[in-house]
Amino acid sequence: MMHLLKIEWLKIKNYKAFLFISLFFLIGIFATNYIVYSVFHNIVNKSDAALLLSNFNPYDFEHVWQTVSYTSGYLLMLPSLLLIILVTNEYTFRTNRQNIIDGSSREEYANVKMMMALIVAATSTLFVVLTALAFAYSSEKDFSITGFSHVGYFFLKALSYNIIAIFISTLIKRTGFAIGIFFIYMGAENIIAQFLDVLSMKLKSSKNIDFGSLGDYLPMNSSDGLLSFPPTPLKSFTTSSLPTEYTWIVLGFAIFYLVLFSWLSRRLIIKKDL
């Protein structure tokens, strides 16, 4: 596998889009968190709401893992975009054919793309951890690992997005079209999720049926649903009307989709004409 990854590295290390998107993503994570941090530090905590929030700082230890994971999650479309470009480039340049002709097996080719999704997700997660540490160490609270599971959820979300990106790329094959479908799907799923969430709330309030937020059981939303902003003291006012959060079920769905899309992508690469 190492020599296959080395070949992937040769493909991307001089690719400007790779450098540009990576840089944009890394700066983006830091900048987005800095904005949220500034809002809390300079505006919320100096307003009347500060009393209600009782000095709640989302960037202190314990909360920081969840805050940075949740906030950074919004930027995960960038690494997905990068993977779409890298995978569809192979179709555009017909280098996927050439790689097989030159002696890669189709399985190796599929596996290394999956491995890329994993590495990109792991690198994104590593940067989230570093960002969280950088912010948290600027506060006075002592180091704590509590809440680190949210970093795991972030990793799962990153991996899910990446695998969906690879699936769409292997299915659509054209860069622009695949990017379009990815974002349209993302938007469409969010709209459907909103409807399902409203339905879930109605079911709970009118018939006392509580399946959790149904929208969380969709492919992208299942991994989104695991991440949320830390529960501020304000939030507790609203939770009573919300459906129960069945974390384990949502996690199960997220993993199920991950396996499903990995399997479908592999199948497309291994079985179809190139």
Binding site: K11, F93, R94, Q98, I100, I101, D102, G103
Partner: protein, 295 residues
């Protein structure tokens, strides 16, 4: 030993049949031409052998073994179009090829020299002309000095000098004992370099074998005189049971290869009291033979 043996390979695209029960084998050390008009299934066949297309039916073997990717690493292939990363240079692209083949990392300079791309080796692929892209694809096929080369229309997009160079290169490689499988619709290309040939038409194998056996070039003698019918009747009496046909205002006599003798023809007609106004020998062209086989 056969480098490649194909057994009843078929390929359908929906209702369209691209290949139908094609079987033949390529002996080691041969320069094997796969000849056929556009759309006859040449590239499809090579695509199946290289595992980029899946056959609907049939099997094939590489080096007398069941095919796998390790065996493909021993073959240098240019299939259909030059496929490279547009944003990388020739050298960077060939490093990837060498990485996949797990051979030829130190061979990059040599192959670039062969295809005369050394002075542009650090330019990105996207800046190359069509001919240069083709040259790079040939360089990639040569990387690591493989024992077998599969070249699909290798002279595509090359200028006359380039075409001549590639022909010489193929002859040189063949003389070094390499097996070369070459698909082409260029008859003279096949005639000039190939030892064996398979002819495909609409996905069916018309014939295959030694080039000299398949393209037996009959000798055709063309004659004319003032009375063409009288001439034909007279020629029908010539010994050897020859084919005699009127074509416009001339008569064609087909002799077995190498047996036509103009003096004898002239003598024979003179003895029959016919004075010839035209007498010439014409080798049957490969082209007309090809037309005959594929039509």
């Amino acid at each position: 030993m056969n480098v490649l043996s194909i057994n009843n390979i078929s390929k359908n695209y929906g209702k369209v049949t691209a290949l139908q029960n094609v079987s033949f084998s390529v002996p080691r050390g041969s320069v094997f031409g796969i000849l056929g008009p556009n759309g006859s299934g040449k590239t499809t066949l090579l695509g199946i052998i290289m595992d980029v297309l899946k056959a609907t039916g049939g099997t094939y073997k590489l080096f007398d073994e069941n095919p796998d990717n390790q065996l493909r690493k021993r073959i240098g292939t240019l299939l259909e179009t030059p496929n490279f990363y547009h944003y990388l240079s020739a050298v960077q692209n060939l490093k990837i090829t060498a990485g996949i083949k797990q051979r030829g990392e130190n061979d990059i300079e040599r192959v670039l020299e062969i295809v005369s791309l050394t002075n542009r080796k650090n330019s990105t692929f996207s800046t190359y002309s069509l001919g240069m892209k083709q040259r790079l694809a040939i360089a990639a096929a040569l990387l690591g000095d493989p024992e077998v080369l599969v070249l699909d229309e290798p002279t595509n997009g090359l200028d006359p000098v380039g075409i001549a160079e590639i022909r010489e290169l193929i002859k040189l490689l063949a003389s070094q004992g390499k097996t070369i499988i070459m698909a082409s619709h260029m008859l003279d290309e096949v005639e000039k370099v190939c030892s064996h040939v398979a002819i495909l038409k609409y996905g069916e194998l018309i014939t295959f074998g030694n080039v000299d056996e398949i393209f037996i070039n009959d000798d055709i003698v063309e004659v004319a005189s003032s009375n063409i019918d009288q001439l034909k009747d007279a020629l029908n009496l010539m010994p050897g049971n020859l084919k005699v046909e009127i074509k416009g205002n001339i008569v064609q006599i087909t002799f077995p290869v190498g047996s036509a003798n103009l003096e004898n023809v002239n003598q024979f007609c003179f003895e029959k009291g016919i004075v010839l106004s035209q007498l010439q020998i014409r080798k049957k062209s490969l082209e007309s033979k090809f037309m005959e086989l594929t039509n």
